[in-house]
């Protein structure tokens, strides 16, 4: 590997020849990595490449099967996350790890609350420190609000605040931006730069390459758990990086096929849900991909939930192919040909303890039956069929999905719903936490589906994705539809303007 002698100081934290297996899966094979103070280091790789496993090893969550962790050049063994934390390593894990019943303030300071006399907790100080952190991130979250019910994005923010509160020497972030919109990402990067300039070492994981290029100095690439390269980013192009990750050249990221929209497949009229969104009306036609953009918390997910029938709507109508859907009944929505790929894959998309086969099978309970009994053969082939179609990376179709990497889990969710061959497909953050390669596949899939006459409603906080894929862009702001912009005049500016409620 190119040893960066130019970076001057010795690495704060280094991995040497790390290997880690889970049962039959070899997540990491002889991986090495060096983190230097005052630099932001990117960790790139496809879904399942081993990024999260690597950082979990750094954080003392996993014990490596082989290899060693060096802190300031001296080998250390972390017996648990506590050890790593005490060594000054702060970690933002890929999946938010909050205590739903505790207040945001407690979530952030759990285990190290400011103390008063007799080691009693100083609640006031805790609250104030939290407010300070929130201001630093430029967000407004009530420190006393319990974490339960926070949107994915809000949860991610709390995680970031938690990591910052350590003033750690090493800050590790596993896809912190996956759930965030541009402006929030900008804020985050501001803070990260400040930390870097104070001499902290930062390890940054993201599937949004532009982010990597924006903030990182060097990048380490993994492929199938093996170390590929560690090198400076300047002089590299996105394509170079992608080639490193995927090992081949990448097809176009937004392969949008032009189609002439057919008749209306999904029609939403004056949909309203007290206190969350109001008077939302729109149509989606066959073959059309409609983007639904907006700031986090705009209510997009809530709209999707209400349309699909997860939440009861207080007012309004939803029609699929002219069939009016009963209020609050997902089963009838499915029967009508509606499918929803939800935002939170762990809680809503997948039953984490069930196998890949069974998870995909769940949406087919009505179809893979013979004489009222399950037709196991049909169930399995249906699941295998789609798992392969979407190139899910797994050891056995009978493995539980919680052994899959984030991105592969997302693919299983997609498989599960595409298997129902829907007429109307609503996808909420379909590519959140998915690597470029897969992203391109998902996009290809979506536009393929559209081409085949499926009506697609795509909720996404990833603006380029919306602009790249959507025929029309709907924009929500504080629970209202504020704009409908045709593909031709949809730009970052127009959309953001409508999303922040400034113009439009």
């Amino acid at each position: 590997m190119t040893h960066p002698s130019d970076t001057g100081p010795a690495p704060v934290l280094a991995l040497k020849g790390i290997s880690k297996s889970f049962g039959a899966v070899r997540a990491l094979r002889d991986v090495s990595l060096e983190l230097f103070p005052g630099e932001v280091h990117a960790l790139a790789g496809e879904n399942g490449a081993g990024k999260s496993t690597l950082i979990k090893t750094l954080a003392g969550v996993h014990r490596p099967d082989a290899g060693q962790v060096l802190l300031d050049g001296a080998p250390v063994v972390f017996h648990g996350p506590g050890d790593a934390r005490d060594a000054g390593i702060a970690v933002i894990y890929q999946e938010p790890t909050l205590f739903p019943d505790l207040s945001i303030a407690e979530n952030i300071f759990m285990g190290r609350q400011p103390r008063r006399a007799l080691r009693r907790i100083d609640h006031r100080a805790t609250r104030e420190a939290t407010t300070a952190l929130m201001n630093r991130l430029g967000v407004e979250l009530d420190p006393d609000r319990p974490a339960r019910g926070l949107s994915i994005a809000d949860q991610q923010i709390v995680e970031i605040a938690k990591a910052l509160s350590f003033d750690a020497r090493v800050l590790i972030m596993d896809e912190p931006t996956a759930a965030l919109t541009h402006s929030e990402v900008a804020r985050l990067f501001g803070v990260v730069r400040a930390l870097r300039d104070q001499g902290a070492a930062v390890l940054f994981i993201s599937h949004r390459l532009e982010e990597i290029f924006e903030i990182c100095r060097r990048v380490t690439t993994l492929r199938d758990g093996a170390w590929i390269a560690s090198e400076p980013l300047d002089g590299m192009t996105e394509d170079d990086l992608v080639r490193r990750m995927v090992g081949r050249d990448l097809a176009e990221l937004y392969p949008k096929q032009d189609v002439t929209p057919g008749e209306v497949a999904l029609s939403v009229r004056r949909l309203t849900r007290e206190g969350v969104f109001t008077d939302v009306s729109f149509d989606v036609r066959r073959g059309e991909i409609v983007g639904l953009a907006g700031l986090v918390g705009a209510g997009r997910t809530e709209v999707a939930r209400a349309v699909f029938g997860i939440d009861r709507r207080d007012a309004g109508e939803v029609e699929v192919d002219g069939r009016r859907l009963t209020n609050g009944a997902p089963s009838t929505a499915m029967a009508a040909g509606l499918a929803l790929v939800p935002e939170d894959r762990r809680a809503q998309g997948l039953v984490m303890d069930l196998s890949i086969e069974r998870n995909i099978g769940l949406t087919g309970l009505g179809t893979t039956v013979r004489a009222g009994l399950m037709d196991r053969g049909a169930e399995r082939s249906r699941s295998l069929d789609w798992a392969v179609k979407l190139r899910v990376k797994y050891a056995r179709i009978a493995d539980t999905v919680n052994t899959l990497s984030g991105g592969n889990q997302q693919k299983v969710v997609l498989a599960k719903w595409l298997a129902t061959r829907p007429k109307v497909l609503i996808v909420d953050e379909p590519t959140r936490g998915i690597d470029v390669g897969t992203k391109a596949e998902v996009h290809r899939l979506l536009s393929q589906l559209a081409a085949d006459g499926v009506a697609v409603l795509m909720i996404s906080s990833d603006l380029p994705e919306v602009l790249g894929m959507a025929d029309r862009v709907l924009v929500m702001h504080e629970g209202r539809l504020t704009a409908e912009i045709p593909r031709t005049d949809a730009t970052e500016e127009t959309v953001m303007a409508a999303a922040t409620g400034r113009a439009a």
Binding site: R115, G149, G297
Partner: protein
Amino acid sequence: MTVTAPGEAPATEVPEAGATRLVDRVFKMRELAILAVFLVMIAVTQAGNSAFLSEQGVKDLLLNATILVLVATGQALVVITRNVDLSVGSTLGISAFAAGIYLQGGGNPVVAVALAVLLGIGFGLLNGLLVSLGQVPALVVTLGTLYIIRGVDSIWVGSRQITAADLPGGFVDFGSGGLSAVPYLAMIALAVLVATAYYLRHFGGGRELYALGSNPEAARLAGIPVRKRILAAYTFCGALAGLAGALYLARFGNVDSGTGSGYELTVVSAVVVGGVVFTGGSGSVYGAALGALLLTSINSVLPALGVSSVWVLAINGVLLVLAIAVDRIVALRVASALKKRNARHA
């Protein structure tokens, strides 16, 4: 959550203050709901029978609640960590007998109580070790130890029994005595209760119990010594069950191999009525204690009102369901309140 446009100063203070008050109010209400039910019940009874709140009457109310309050407090701690201890009844029984046997041999009451507590701690540790180290479902394990301890108890006790005659007079008098209407036993229970509540609210260890009940995986990642905490919770629960055993002996002056059997359901009911949820992470020991007070009082109220004992059980059950329902409706109100605030923020 919103993104404050650059330049605009984040107006955090206003909503925070408001929110704080709201949340606090609402969460206090969870206990308030039970307290209300309790007070109404007492009032009605007093109206129907003026003798009810006589000095003797009040004393009896408190005495009856004491033992259940203690055990429920311990149980609450365990339930908060998303576990449960079904073996408390057996533990209470066996430690009561141990203390009794010791006193029968002319032992010193203080030592006897200590003995009971130690025995409780022992069994608490056993449960704690099985659950935290063995990492096996608490329900099964403690149901197992419920049987084991009960069995060992009845083999050891056989047909022997401790009667008031075997106990030093001072011990028995202590069991029924008190300062005017406030029994000594109740004071002990209250002290334990307040101390526990304070610890849970104001000490790191206490908060960590809530944390790991709320999300065990996250607790591990936050570097909380999960096993240690769970072990501590069970030990404490066992200790209180042991203490309760000693007090039972003082109170009823009578212990045999059946003492405390079937108690687990009562305790769990008290905790549930008290608004401590079984999915862990929420609820308070005050709630549990109120639940205990409510349950035991029902058993005094109905006879005092002359309700035929045939009805007691049914009314008990219905009240139990009602109490939970009320609590639930309050909880729902909390949720909707939060959602509304959410929307305001958005």
